[in-house]
Symmetry: C2
């Protein structure tokens, strides 16, 4: 299994780690079988599979359970901690330490709340500092959400906010920065120029991975995309079957191929 140090080394600005996000042991096992040495988790998938609300701090137990299952299966994972499942930095630090003890290689912590509002950067930085202190081995990916929530202002204002928050989180001990949302290429370039640490963005609808690489990105995450693609695929297949079509394609594994997966 990948060590935290080896995971860190995969973050190369200009040659990014493309990190697929899993939501259960099945998706994680299959992604590993497909050659991915590490997966992230997607809080949307974890929350939806638990019948809970994403980003609302409701899935502490499920997040820990998933981390336990994946590490027990020898799958390297970086965990989406949402906002740490607590307002108390000490509790956030304890949770991160619990994950680190399991062998988790990294974690994301975000600076917006369940209502989709940016929180005070000082309060987010205190959580970052608590994690950095209690789980120093983790690749601590601080997520800043000016482009994710309805933060007001245009792209330049949001980029200013992202950079300012990024620097506060790096000073608090973050390893890298994650800026989710739909970004223009010039914003990506601005972020990688002004944030002195590996920058992580989501896979984009209008910008390809090679373009993100050229703009200096060090990690591209799929976020909830693979989970949503899986949902869309089963809906389309069930509909096709009902309509009398043959479904699946050469990329659909056979029963024996799934059973034969380590």
């Amino acid at each position: 299994m990948l060590t935290p140090g080896a995971f860190r080394a995969l973050h190369r600005p200009g040659d990014p780690l493309v990190l697929p996000n899993a939501w259960d042991l099945a998706s994680a096992r299959w992604l590993r079988a497909a050659g991915h040495s590490v997966v992230g988790t997607t809080s949307l998938g974890v929350a939806y599979a638990a019948g809970r609300t994403d980003g609302a701090g409701e899935t502490r137990r499920e997040t820990l359970d998933l981390a336990r299952r994946l590490t027990a299966a020898g799958i390297a994972v970086t965990v989406d901690l949402e906002a740490g499942f607590s307002d108390d930095p000490d509790e956030v630090g304890d949770f991160a330490a619990e994950l680190a003890d399991l062998g988790v290689v990294g974690g994301n912590i975000e600076d917006s709340d369940a209502e989709g509002r940016l929180v005070d950067p000082g309060s987010a930085a205190r959580k970052v500092a608590a994690i950095a202190s209690s789980a120093p081995g983790l690749y601590l990916n601080a997520r800043t959400d000016p482009f994710w929530v309805d933060a007001g202002g245009g792209a330049p204002d949001r980029a200013d906010a992202a950079v300012e928050r990024a620097i506060a989180y790096l000073e608090a001990g973050a390893t890298g920065l994650f800026v989710p949302g739909i970004l223009e290429l010039e914003v990506v370039a601005r972020l990688t120029r002004d944030i002195p640490a590996p920058v992580n963005v989501l896979v984009q609808d209008r910008i390809t991975v090679p373009e993100l690489a050229a703009a200096g990105v060090a990690r591209v995450s799929t976020g909830s995309l693979l989970f949503r693609i899986a949902l869309g695929a089963i809906d389309a297949a069930a509909r096709g079957i009902r309509d009398g079509r043959h479904v699946g394609d050469p990329g659909t594994p056979s029963y024996a191929e799934v059973v034969g997966t380590a």
Copy 2:
């Protein structure tokens, strides 16, 4: 939520129920949102997601947990019991009663073992009888596996075995019969002619649902297909992203669409 009686009424020979099989609450919620009033479970998906072996009786707890989650969410479900997770018919009956108490509408029980061998039909019939007695409200779908395991013989011999076993299971109290495997259309017609109960087959590679309907089938299950399609889709998407392509399609739900699903 669908009652067992309403579920039974959906089994119309010639106008089959197309039953999608889910493996977790996420897939089941999404299928319900897509308009499916009932789902089955797929033991392959349940086992793979638990890091266990399919068809080996290793997922009793996970099967019960999934039934509990789905019924708690108000999702009508018929549960794959594999071979009942016990050699003792009384224990199999107790397990079925536990499922029925949760509000499960039906269950499948199979007559092959972990090594892929057909078991003695008398022993399988005793499990069917135990379920019929302890959970009389369940739609009890007895699965017979001459076309699923390597039973030897050609299609006519296997069809003879399937019909003979089907009749034994119906006499023991089964509601319907499930004959998984790859079938020729004439075999399907033979099964529906000679089995005096609703016949369930898997979705087929070479026969469409309208053809199965015309041959008298009352239920078409997707088995592990949707699960395998989901795995294939996330692998293909992750690969595509790495290769610089845009992935997903108009059928891929947005983040907001998933969050907005009941």
